[in-house]
Assembly symmetry: C2
Homo-oligomer: 216 residues x 2
């Protein structure tokens, strides 16, 4: 059901969304070129072709632009996790180790190519321009992703306390992020070797827990 | 054997060493209070009670102080690894899993308490004030520590290519550092749970490789 207000508002909201999108896009490009440190509101206005007042209408300061970009990165990565969860739930032959390996391989590959293809991500998160706000966002995000993973692994792994289960998934999630970011710092060849080794380690850990489940 | 030059130089070198030590000590305190970003050469001079020209005599700029401190942290942590290597080599009863577990537990505990007790470490490395130079130092240091670990694990683990062995130890070293730094961001209780889980994971991975060694 539409009202007159809806009709009056919609085009303007659509324009706002496009404008905010353009501002973030330009900011991401600029960050990947000069780093978040050197990002300037006036440069963003110039590159986005919008009056600087219009930028301040959406973002009170540079920090809020960086935060929006960082949140958008985390959201996209969260999508990757959610999309791949089904893999482990639908393992047809009951081979839980293979199912976990498949799920984690897909998540790792998609994360890694996201990192490689989003230069603003590296500039913001790669240790080059980290700050307290990003650290806090990352801790919160890792905790949330670990909670999701915990729900998935709980019925597959042997029974353990909530605290241990949470610590386990937290270590895994943090390890995936840390190893991939470290891989980005190495050359392509050594980076890829590290990614393959990360997958192997997760497979070994999964097998270790699942074997424990069926041990006498 | 001493010469006249030795005698003339020694006290002055000793004074220099003490002065450099004092400058770094004061800088570390200051960084833990205000962050490396807000560190000022003039504050260091004032707090150390030395003329600012004397600071520039040893350190051309702020970056070189930060680098010296960072290198000193890495050196102290490298000592921890080297001191504990003997544990795995001297396992009396041939239980390699237990020996690796003991060695890694000791390294992890000592690293974690170093992180906890050296506030300047967190301020410099904890993701709050990382920069390109520190990232580069850390990559180099992790590679070197991994090389040392690789030599230790090579005769214990099943045969694997140099590249795989190096990737394996690199993932382990990076995981230890990343998990401990992440643990610092959490509260004490959850942080400690993470540290215990990290130890458990290393034990499981070691067991997985060692069982593979004796598999038919």
């Amino acid at each position: 059901m539409h009202s007159a207000t809806d009709i009056r508002k919609r085009p303007s909201q659509e324009r706002s969304r496009q404008r905010v999108g353009k501002i973030l896009e330009v900011a991401a490009e600029r960050i990947s070129e000069v780093g978040a440190d050197q990002l300037k509101m006036s440069d963003i206005a110039k590159l986005a072709g919008v009056p600087i007042g219009s930028i301040y209408q959406y973002f009170p300061n540079k920090s809020s632009i960086i935060r929006s970009l960082a949140e958008s990165h985390l959201e996209q990565l969260r999508e990757v996790v959610l999309e791949n969860l089904a893999t482990v739930k639908e393992a047809p032959d009951g081979d839980d180790v293979a199912a976990i390996q498949l799920m984690s391989n897909r998540i790792i590959d998609t994360y890694y190519s996201f990192y490689l293809n989003e230069p603003a991500f590296s500039a913001l998160w790669g240790g080059i321009q980290a700050d307290a706000m990003l650290t806090e966002l990352e801790v919160k995000d890792t905790q949330e992703t670990a909670d999701i993973l915990h729900e998935i692994l709980k019925p597959i792994f042997p029974p353990m306390s909530e605290a241990r289960g949470h610590a386990l998934t937290l270590v895994i999630c943090n390890q995936i992020g840390a190893t991939l970011r470290f891989a980005l710092q190495l050359g392509e060849e050594q980076g890829q070797e590290l990614v393959e080794m990360l997958k192997e380690q997760i497979g070994r850990v999964a097998r270790s827990y699942i074997e424990e489940r069926s041990a006498p």
